[in-house]
Each structure stands twice: as structure tokens, then as C-alpha cells.
């Protein structure tokens, strides 16, 4: 890992004790000494929240679609416009099409030719999405790829794979997990993972 602080060892400059970097280090060291915090746990939480915690813009779109029937209809009819209602849009999202998962159909999105991805709703793609393995196999053996993510579908479910080969960007509208019907929109956002909007996992799955 690279670090780029300038450290001129010939110049005896000390940071200010009020410098936040110094204060954070100090408070952490006090807590560790008192046995109240484990630095490894701190590392793990940083890692987790830096890369995991939403809410992705797309999660807000999905939660709204789950709770607002009319919004859902608009979203499926014109994804770009409905997503723009929430203030999202822009580069790599000139035209967004939302495809819904149902009991009969499960959707999965890939870009076999490069790494096209709906930035305005999902940010930048995870590395696996850009891997040769995913790009080659998602269109050819989607069920096996899904099982590699721990996702198993019933035999009768039709799997539909969308290859983003032009400028249209696809977003999967996952099914709302059973038993969550009474949750409000804010709580539902937490159940919508990035992976469920690409289609490799179901919403609510860990």
C-alpha cells in the first residue's frame, strides 16, 4: 500500500497536538490500553463500511419501488425519468432500463465487452464484475455463476442475462424479501445490496 506523506527527516517539525490525526491516534491508544477497543476490530469495521455500507442511490430507487406501486410502474416504463425523480442521473446513465425480478424471471446484468455499469445508481463496479471470468461465463452459464455467489434459483425460474453492449444501462429491481412488508422505505433501503441490483444475489441475502 502506498502512502504519500512528506516526511522531511532533516526538518524537526512536530505536528500540533490538536491535529486531528494526532488526536485520533491518541484516543485510540487510550482505549486500547484500557482494553475497550481492539485495533483489529477497528480495521475490520473501516474495511467493511468503506466498501459495503450504502445506501447506494439504486437502493433508494428500489425501496421506493417496493413501497409505491405507481412509482414502480413509472420506473419500469421509463427508468431514466423515474430515477431522475430522486435526483440521480448523469454519466453512464443516459438511458437506464429497470428489469424486474419475479417468481418466474430472474435478471442478471453483465458487460461482456468491457465493464459498462450504471454509475448513477450503483457507483463504480466491483472488481469481480470486470473480471474475465464474469464477462465470459455470466452469459453462458448464469446459474453456475449465481451459485458461486451463493444464489440458488428454483428450476422453473427463467434466467435472463442482459449484456450492456451499447449505451443503455440495466438495473435489476430485485424482489422484496418475504416478511418485510411492514418495513418503511428507510429500513427497506438497508436490504437492497449492490449485488441484488446487478442480479447476482437476492435482496436481503447476506
Amino acid at each position: 500500500m502506498s502512502h504519500d506523506h512528506d516526511h522531511d527527516h532533516h526538518h524537526h517539525h512536530h505536528p500540533d497536538p490538536h491535529d486531528p490525526a494526532v488526536r485520533v491516534e491518541a484516543i485510540e491508544s487510550l482505549l486500547v490500553e484500557a482494553g475497550l477497543v481492539d485495533s483489529a476490530r477497528v480495521d475490520a469495521l473501516i474495511e467493511k463500511y468503506e466498501h459495503d455500507l450504502g445506501p447506494l442511490n439504486g437502493a433508494q430507487v428500489v425501496a421506493k419501488a417496493w413501497t409505491d406501486r405507481e412509482y414502480r410502474t413509472r420506473l419500469l416504463a421509463d427508468g431514466t425519468a423515474a430515477i431522475a425523480e430522486l435526483g440521480f442521473g448523469g454519466a453512464q446513465g443516459e438511458r437506464m432500463v429497470v428489469v424486474e425480478n419475479t417468481d418466474q424471471v430472474h435478471n442478471l446484468v453483465v458487460c461482456t465487452l468491457c465493464s459498462c455499469y450504471p454509475w448513477p445508481v450503483l457507483g463504480l463496479p466491483p472488481s469481480w464484475y470486470k473480471s474475465p471470468e464474469y464477462r465470459a461465463r455470466a452469459v453462458r452459464e448464469p446459474n453456475v455463476v449465481l451459485s458461486e455467489f451463493g444464489t440458488e434459483l428454483d428450476d422453473h425460474v427463467e434466467v435472463r442475462v442482459w449484456d450492456s453492449s451499447a449505451e443503455v444501462r440495466y438495473l435489476v429491481l430485485p424482489q422484496q424479501p418475504p416478511g418485510t412488508e411492514d418495513l418503511n422505505e428507510t429500513d427497506l433501503v438497508d436490504l437492497v445490496s449492490r449485488d441484488s441490483m446487478i442480479g447476482v444475489r437476492l435482496a436481503g441475502a447476506l
Binding site: M1, S2, D4, H51, E94, R95, V97, V110, T112, L113, C114, S115, G123, L124, P125, P126, S127, W128, K130, S131, P132, E133, Y134, R135, A136, R137, A138, V139, R140, E141, P142, N143, V145, E148, F149, E158, V159, R160, V161, W162, D163, S164, S165, A166, E167, V168
Partner: protein, 217 residues
């Protein structure tokens, strides 16, 4: 001609690296992302030319290079072809042996005026939702080794139009500075059984294809 980047359906790949879910593994990748986009703008490459630049990576290295490695190499490629740097300028600059100097521009692919790629065309779409279509064996516009968005795994295959997805700048010409030639894009559905007859697969693959790629069966 095999195009290394055209990976859809290609056999021989192992499990998806499911746990590699970070966007950036290290700070240099973040900087590579930003630098490459900046280089694209400075070199005057449009999106299609950018993609074609990545595709022109050394085929022997394409699969093994990290994603952002390919991007940074493309940044250099674009800057040289865009006439911003001489071809040996980057390594020379790194070695400290010379200042960066301009060279002759070898690409014509200037960007569209920041308008995005969506276009309105007067021609009506040739195909309707539900129509059976046949994908050509290759793009009629693609130059030898040129850019195209016709994936090899659907070349020559039969499909059904599912959606008409508006008209867009045509990458096959635009990547090479030969004009926008906007064309209708269709989301065409293929049965996996037609794409890979020996696989015993029952899923469907939907691919966005430009009208010039398609013909009536």
C-alpha cells in the same frame, strides 16, 4: 480474427472472483482512474475511441493485466496518438531524460461536444418489437481490427427484438473519427440453446445491438 476483449461465452475460465468486490484495491488505482479520464479529455478521444484503445492492448497481456493497469496503459496510448506526447516521451520523462514534447496526431477521433451519445434520427426503426432478426456475421462498418460492439457470441445467430432502445452514436464509425452515423439500438433476445447448442442451456441472453448489425432472416 479473434478479439481478445470479446469474452462473452468464451470457455476456459474458472470461478468468478466473488470476494474481490472492491472498486479500487489501492490508492494508485484511484489515481489511475482519474488520470486516465483526464488523459482522454486532453487527448481528445471520444468514449468509443477510448474503449477501442483499451481493446488494442497487447492480446498476450490483456487477460493478465489488472483492470486499471490497462487503463493507465490506455492513458499513455491516447496521449501519444492524440499528439500530446511523443511515443517515447512518457518513459523518457520517467527516466528524467527529456521534457515531454508534442508529436503528430495519429487519431481523428475527437469527442462529441459533450452531448452524450443519444441522438434523434429521422429514419424510423427498421424492426419492431417481436420481430425475428438475424445478426450478421460481422459488422458491415467495422474496419479490419476496428472497433465494434457486435459481440462474437451472437454473430450469425437468430434472435427476437424485445425492446427498441432509441438511437445512438454508432461506435464502429465514431471510434475512428468517421462520423456519428447514429443508428437505432435494439435489445435482442437470444435463446442459449441457439447460441451454444451443445450446452443444454435454457436461459435467455439479451444483447443491445445496433441496426447495421441486424438483418431480416
Amino acid at each position: 480474427m479473434t478479439r481478445t476483449h470479446d469474452l462473452g461465452g468464451r470457455p476456459g475460465f474458472g470461478p468468478v472472483p466473488v470476494d474481490d468486490d472492491q472498486i479500487f484495491h489501492a490508492d494508485w488505482e484511484r489515481r489511475a482512474f482519474a488520470v486516465t479520464q483526464f488523459s482522454q479529455a486532453v487527448a481528445g478521444f471520444n468514449t468509443d475511441a477510448f474503449r477501442h484503445g483499451v481493446e488494442r492492448e497487447d492480446p498476450e497481456r490483456y487477460l493478465e493485466l489488472d483492470y486499471f493497469d490497462k487503463w493507465i496503459r490506455n492513458a499513455e496510448r491516447m496521449l501519444v496518438e492524440g499528439g500530446v506526447f511523443a511515443s517515447d516521451a512518457v518513459s523518457a520523462a520517467i527516466l528524467g531524460t527529456s521534457a515531454l514534447g508534442a508529436a503528430n496526431r495519429t487519431t481523428d477521433a475527437a469527442p462529441a461536444q459533450g452531448r452524450g451519445a443519444h441522438r434523434v434520427v429521422s429514419a424510423t426503426p427498421k424492426f419492431a418489437v417481436g420481430d425475428a432478426v438475424q445478426v450478421r456475421s460481422e459488422s458491415p462498418a467495422a474496419l479490419e481490427g476496428g472497433h465494434t460492439r457486435l459481440p462474437g457470441y451472437v454473430a450469425g445467430k437468430p434472435g427476437t427484438v424485445r425492446l427498441i432502445n432509441d438511437a445512438w452514436v454508432f461506435p464502429d464509425t465514431h471510434a475512428h473519427g468517421q462520423g456519428e452515423s447514429p443508428a437505432w439500438v435494439y435489445a435482442v433476445a437470444f435463446l442459449a440453446g441457439d447460441l451454444w447448442p451443445n450446452d443444454n442451456a435454457t436461459h435467455t441472453v439479451v444483447v443491445d445491438l445496433f441496426e447495421p448489425y441486424l438483418e431480416t432472416p
